[in-house]
């Protein structure tokens, strides 16, 4: 530092200045290379993860071929593995989660942007976001020790007696009152993704120009009509993006689901039966896998999960970008 000031204070010879310029240019070039390398490291991480799992799962994928996708076998003794049960469990639990979380998140976003008095918005919003900060293992423990007994004792028998007797959809709600199962996992997942979806919705609802809303109010719209006919269409793509962001989370969530899903490799129509999901299968069985083909099958499952979440999250990102682009154009 002292040397620099001295160099500035005394008008040095042209040679000195040239040398300094060259030095600065070299340092700048080096700096640029370092940060660019770090940037590419991010790209490398994602592609590396995909390729390494494809590589790790190659044995399972080449042995079982496409039947890996729709076989329900999961037999460690005879080395026969199929992914259908975990895929089914993953999709069903995520679907239940979205059925609950999407309307609730919309309600929360509506409440925080249009309904709640001003003094309430900040603390309620912070509380909902706090829900996102709780580690998933806490959800899992709470689910196992607190929520599962309640499901088993009250909710499952009630569902059995009431909805279980209905035609067609009754089959979904008939089952033993175990408490653990796909419905429980779906509900816990819903609680976990609500803060993600609602915070995206809330943010994009706030971007709607006040002029637009006020013109609707001036025409005599009620608050609900403004939200449903003005705010929602204006932010549609970003809202869909937020929903898919939540879906991506729900598909890949591991610990909370592992605790309450029951780890049962059985395909059952009832939501009250224990099942399995891709992430839960990997978490439960990976360290116990005693043969190469077993381990490879689990890694292949991870690869499937990666591909699915990649597609879902990419779609979410594209939809979210669409709104900001539309904002920029105006």
């Amino acid at each position: 530092m002292a040397a620099d000031t001295a160099a500035i204070a005394i008008p040095s010879s042209v040679v000195d200045a040239k040398r300094r310029n060259a030095r600065d240019a070299r340092a700048d070039g080096l700096f640029r290379w370092i940060v660019a390398a770090a940037g590419f490291f991010v790209l490398l991480t994602l592609t590396g993860a995909a390729l390494s799992m494809l590589w790790g799962g190659r044995e399972a994928l080449s042995t079982f071929g496409f039947s890996f996708l729709w076989s329900t076998d999961w037999d460690a003794v005879n080395h026969k593995f199929g992914a259908l049960v975990p895929i089914y469990g993953t999709l069903v639990t995520a679907l239940i989660a979205m059925l609950i979380a999407v309307p609730v998140s919309f309600g929360i976003a509506l409440f925080l942007t249009e309904v709640a008095p001003n003094w309430m918005r900040q603390p309620v919003g912070a509380a909902i976001e706090l829900l996102a900060g709780i580690p998933s293992i806490i959800y899992g423990m709470w689910g196992l020790f607190v929520f599962v007994p309640i499901m088993g004792e009250y909710i499952n028998p009630w569902l059995n007696d009431h909805i279980g007797t209905w035609p067609v959809i009754g089959a979904l709600f008939r089952g033993p009152p175990l408490g653990i199962g796909m419905l429980t996992a779906g509900i816990v997942l819903a609680i976990m993704v609500i803060p993600f979806i609602s915070s995206v919705m809330r943010e994009v609802f706030l971007t709607v120009p006040t002029r637009l809303k006020e013109s609707a109010y001036a025409l005599g719209s009620t608050t609900w009509e403004v939200v449903w006919d003005i705010v929602l269409p204006y932010t549609r793509s970003a809202v869909i993006g937020g929903i898919f962001l939540g879906l991506g989370r729900a598909l890949g969530e591991t610990m909370a689901v592992t605790f309450v899903l029951g780890n049962a490799h059985r395909l059952s129509a009832s939501l009250l039966e224990p099942g399995n999901s891709i992430a839960a299968t990997i978490a439960n069985e990976f360290t116990e896998a005693d043969s190469d083909i077993y381990r490879s099958s689990l890694i292949a499952l991870g690869f499937l999960l990666f591909v699915v979440t990649f597609i879902v999250l990419s779609f979410a990102k594209l939809m979210l970008n669409r709104l900001s682009r539309q904002e920029g154009v105006k």
């Binding site: 240019a25 700048d28 640029r32 370092i34 940060v35 660019a36 770090a38 940037g39 490291f41 991010v42 790209l43 994602l46 590396g48 993860a49 390494s52 799992m53 590589w55 790790g56 309307p103 609730v104 998140s105 919309f106 929360i108 509506l110 409440f111 925080l112 309904v115 309620v124 509380a127 909902i128 709780i134 580690p135 998933s136 293992i137 806490i138 959800y139 899992g140 020790f145 607190v146 609680i191 803060p195 009620t222 609900w224 009509e225 991506g248 890949g252 591991t254 610990m255 990997i282 978490a283 990976f286 360290t287 890694i299 991870g302 999960l305 979440t309 990649f310 999250l313 990419s314 990102k317």
Partner: protein
Amino acid sequence: MSDVSERLYRKRRLINAWNLVASGACAAFGIFWLVWILWTTLKTGIAAMKPALFYEMTPPPGSDGGIANALFGSLVMSLGAILIGTPIGVAAGTYLAEFAKKRAIGEAIRFVNDILLSAPSIVLGLFVYTLVVRQTGHFSGYAGALALALIVLPVVVRTTDEMLQLVPSQMREAALSLGVPQWKVTLQVLYRSALPGIMTGILLALARISGETAPLLFTALNNQYWTNDLNSPMASVPVVIFQYAMSPYESWHSLAWAGAFVVTVFVLLLSVLSRAILLRNKVSND
């Protein structure tokens, strides 16, 4: 005629009132779970707290003990993850904000980073397993730290990128016009002004990894004993919680709740702290 419009008006008002009340119910629904989960964790956790937690090792089935080795393992691996993830993340964020702001490559990296941000953490665990554990032939604390670093990375990249973009361009131009080279402008002017934001990002990343279980399951594995050796399997609080909560033993359950309590309090403190840093910074900017 006016009767019809009166009825329509009343119907619209009713729908409106119903939906607004429902939205309030949704917010109450969200807060209900938060309170329930936190209350359970705090109540059961405090009941399970004891001094031995912090100086005794994880016990074999059925006997009493603490989680000192797990706390130490979590601490070491989290710090390691921050030490690996932060420099790379800050550098990558700098690249995005300062060198590739509007370029296609910048957009691509941002896209991938956002996906990494919400990618399932168990997948990152599998990645590190094939990359490190498979190659070295054993589970290790290093592998655990690396897996956690991959979770830290996108958080830090994102916040650094955003915070640097918030720095007014006049600041860059003023410094550059004095003849300061760009690396010096970045290190001494931009980072200084974006520091609170970047710190927040690091704290948020720390909060996120301190409860992460899935990536540690098959990288650091677990260890019943104290170990200073990062090259051997290491215990961590979340993995111990997982193992103990799934067990049939009452004493293990209570240790798991104590661990859950410690993790939850730590995570909540971190998120309050990071909020405070951001808020203070906002006020000073105004």
